[in-house]
Amino acid sequence: MKAGVRVLAWCVVAALAFRLGFEAGDRRDAIVQDPVPVAPVEVPRPRAIEPAPVPVALPDKLHTLAGREFLAAMPTLERLARGGRADALRVLFQHLDACVDFKPPPGDAVPEWIDVQYANELAIEKLDAATCERRRSEGQSCEAGELREQRVLAANQRREECTALSAAQIGSRIAWARLAVDRGDRDMVVLLRGPNTMRDMPRTERVRELDALVALERRSREEMDRLVDAGDLDALWSSMLGYRSGGNLVDQDLVAAHAAYLVLQRAAPDGIHGSRPMDSTSDRLSAAQLAEAQARADAMYARCCAR
């Protein structure tokens, strides 16, 4: 009897051991399971490449940063941008925007690619003396070989930047632009509402970031109206071009473009920076639209320039 109880006790203990062993093995299954990589749904907050940015000495002119120098300076630029420094915000936005939909030429094919892309520009010997003089005054070369080298260098630098930046970093440019507009950065407003800004934005991103873009368009329009009302004709010029071409942020609006043209014609009859606005819209508008543009122009002129 006593032996039977002992055997029974050992069996109970063995059963318990089996159960404990089973649970331990089962837990191992849960531990080894890989987490599911899930893409973030929210727009990522602008962030640095490195978690703890080491301050980098920046040049006085931030727009001269390029390639590896730009990448190394990016954490510092982001810190400055968060602090509201307008030129850092603009440089970040422009570099990130230039990498949207970037398709790099094969590494050893850059010079050939440059020859094709910039064929007209490299035919520099065709430039007249006045154009060469202007180019030199702007720090640009007027010698084909030198210009080609500059272009190859710039293409390589752009490739360095664009292949190093993540999709989230490039996507964050909309948030940087919004920050700059909210801080009332005139140059960013002019840039955003001018022609060609964000022209390479993929359709998927335009739908995905629709609410942010609609808000950015509205805020930048308010700021542009404020600039124009204060008499900033440079900004109005850029706005006219933006409305003429239309783009991913600013919708084409030929009535608004024509109204801007009418105001510029009246407020700056000698032109701006030596250029006179050209009427390229009136023949595409109906009589009613022309009248609407005139009424808008009169009201705008009264606000911005009559005094």
Binding site: R203, T204, R208
Partner: protein
Amino acid sequence: MRTSTWFGLALVVAAGASGYMAGAPDPRATPPVVMSDEPGDTAAQAALAAADGWMRTPGTRGTLPATSSDPLPQGSFGTTVDILRERTRAGDAAAARALYEGLRRCDGYEPLREGESVEERAEISTASGFDTAVQIADGFRSLLQERGADTSIVPPVTLEGLHAGQLDRWATLAADCEGAGHVPLDAWRDAQAVASDLDDPDARVSYWSEAFQRWSPLAEMPAKRDRALAGLRRALAAGDWRALAAIGEIHEEGWLAPPSPALAYAYLHAAMLGTRGGSSAPLPWRTGFWTPSADADIRRRLRRLESTLDPATREAARAYGEARHAACCAQGAP
């Protein structure tokens, strides 16, 4: 120690070890598929659910739209377009669908000028299109040649052959579209949106594709997006598995959130369950030259996504997809 004690201890150790082995996963075996009615059973599924905006979509079954009691008018699109427009304005989903399909067929059709015959129109388009047709055929041949495939499957382009094709095309278009020249024939996308609003089953699962992929001014985009998503939500609520395929594509391409292969796989797997392996019709938003059956289409996408997912993620996505299918469409496709 007595022999029986040693025996007892050995029994305990052996039992513990065999229990451990029984509980541990067999590395050769496929991990078990977690079946559930609601997602969130595992951490992986919970993560998928958290990232999935469509979880906010009501999962209850809706009702399919009532079919119009009046039959559609008989005749070509050109002779029925005004009736279809009138009935669409009155809220007839079937008429709205016939209207957008007709507009789509006739998009690009220019009515014959007075005295112009179909033969003359075919001659003009043959003359203007011959060089392009030759270039396209040459392009196909060199593509096939590069891949070492048989180039003889591309038929030679001859003036006679092209003319016969153009004659057939213009005769069909003229028979269908003549008489509809007073309506904007390129406005079929707007008509599709109206049909979607009226709950036409094909339009409400298709409109997202046009609304997202076609460039529109920014000011028009929010309304188009919201209209497209509302259509998909109604399709889901009505148990239409094709909406799951649409959401899979939306996740794959990243239209509403950054691309997520796991969620794309989950929804396409859910749609695959909906086809029950036998849907020969193409997905209704698929246009162009290549319109495979929904079945083949979804399988191809699943294969492509499969290679980007590790096995554990794939299994979690599959289980999540099963839950999505169960919540939407398990009671039968429309």
